[in-house]
Symmetry: C2
Subunit: 258 residues, 2 copies
């Protein structure tokens, strides 16, 4: 496990340097995918290729699930699976040049074992797992207090909030305020660091795999917004929170009509 | 003018050090004002007192408008006025320990002359004015491109977005995405740095005075959301944007029923 962890940390920092270099050199080529707001850049693709090459060299048996380059679906979850989001928050990457991250999760036999979230521009690598705890760079992260919804900031998806899907607006009202950062990884990092009481969104597996391992390692909860287990297949309405806030939001979600 | 500028920069950085020291020492005492989400801390009050003392010593004739300590209204705008927000984004200050700023604006005869926004935790001081341009620390900030709404991120107020006030949701849909940071100063700093195409919110004078001077110095526009001039008196529905995006949003706002 130690070898695997130090190997992945090396990949994350090396990929971060590649991304910073490309940003500074203004070498971004931006394309759209499903619609005008669904962006991908040459840097997303290059970074995913980098990870795939490293993973294949390190563990040729492992499966890989990633956002880009047609690797976005898996039929089998047996053995070891690496889940990659080469640039999470691509819109921020392009328009803000900050507030994005690299994410990688390791699953074994369908269970999340390790998670890594790297805020490239801040130089903050959050990593850990169920059996080892969570660390920010080399400092252990304490378990956040189990605060109720009313005492924390709630990360929120804009479309769900606009439509009050699953009572998202009521969840927001009961919290100390909603925040929209445009980066799932940084919202989940915020939960780990005690800056968010929860997160409501519509996410693909690579958006929550790494952060999910980390929040669960610290006793926080996540599921489909209706309470069922996440399927790790396609986009799903996502709910996460401190145990206390999660239960409050789940009740609100189950009372909703839409 | 140079003496005034270097004096204020000195106050901003000194106040920033006081705030960081208080944060690190965990010396926050949090109270509520109008409701449970309207926070004020001992640090907001201490910082405003610091500025008031410095201003009175520097220019005893000047008037002062500030968020805290009962200095939140002015009858006369003649002569020189200092407008202070000692901690903008107090909720973030308390719950995130980042994403807040100190703001100061200088008005003369009712006109904004100088603006200062200090992102304390990032160590970024944005400052400038109509006649001198805008600087980030000591580097001149170029004029952002006059992009349309469809090409940029839109800073947004949660309550206005939830209720679709002034067609806020349609504005959001037409942009590249909405962002809610909980800090007006950082949203306006984002406009200056080309990371936001605009900002829609409900703001008091100290929330937009400094940022307003800076965005106008770079050719961007702001007004009440209906298009009339801001009154600098009490909370107002606020609209700002690149000239292109501002006009698009103003049309949407004027077409709205609420």
């Amino acid at each position: 496990m130690q070898i695997l962890i130090s190997e992945i940390k090396h990949w994350m920092t090396e990929a971060g340097e590649m991304i910073k270099t490309a940003l500074l050199a203004n070498q971004l080529t931006v394309d759209t995918k499903t619609d005008r707001k669904d962006l991908v850049t040459n840097v997303d693709k290059m970074t995913q290729d980098y990870f795939v090459k490293k993973i294949v060299a390190f563990d040729p048996q492992a499966r890989i699930l990633g956002e880009e380059n047609g690797q976005d679906h898996l039929d089998k979850w047996s053995g070891r699976v690496f889940i990659i989001d080469p640039v999470d928050g691509t819109m921020n990457f392009v328009l803000e040049r900050e507030n994005f991250c690299i994410m990688l999760a390791v699953y074994e036999e369908g269970q999340g074992i390790l998670g890594f979230i790297y805020d490239v521009m801040k130089g903050q690598l959050l990593w850990g797992g169920r059996d080892i705890g969570v660390f920010l760079n080399e400092e252990r992260v304490p378990q956040p207090a189990d605060i109720p919804l009313s005492e924390g900031l709630l990360g929120m998806n804009a479309a769900m909030y606009a439509r009050n899907s699953h009572n998202a607006q009521i969840m927001g009202d009961r919290s100390m305020g909603v925040r929209m950062s445009g980066c799932a990884g940084l919202e989940l990092m915020g939960m780990v660091l005690g800056r968010r009481v929860g997160y409501v969104s519509n996410l693909a597996p690579w958006d929550y795999a790494a952060g999910g391992v980390l929040i669960e390692a610290l006793g926080m909860k996540m599921s489909h917004i209706t309470g069922r287990k996440l399927k790790l297949d396609g986009r799903e309405r996502f709910l996460a929170g401190t145990p206390h806030a999660y239960e409050e939001m789940l009740v609100l979600s189950q009372q909703a009509n839409n």
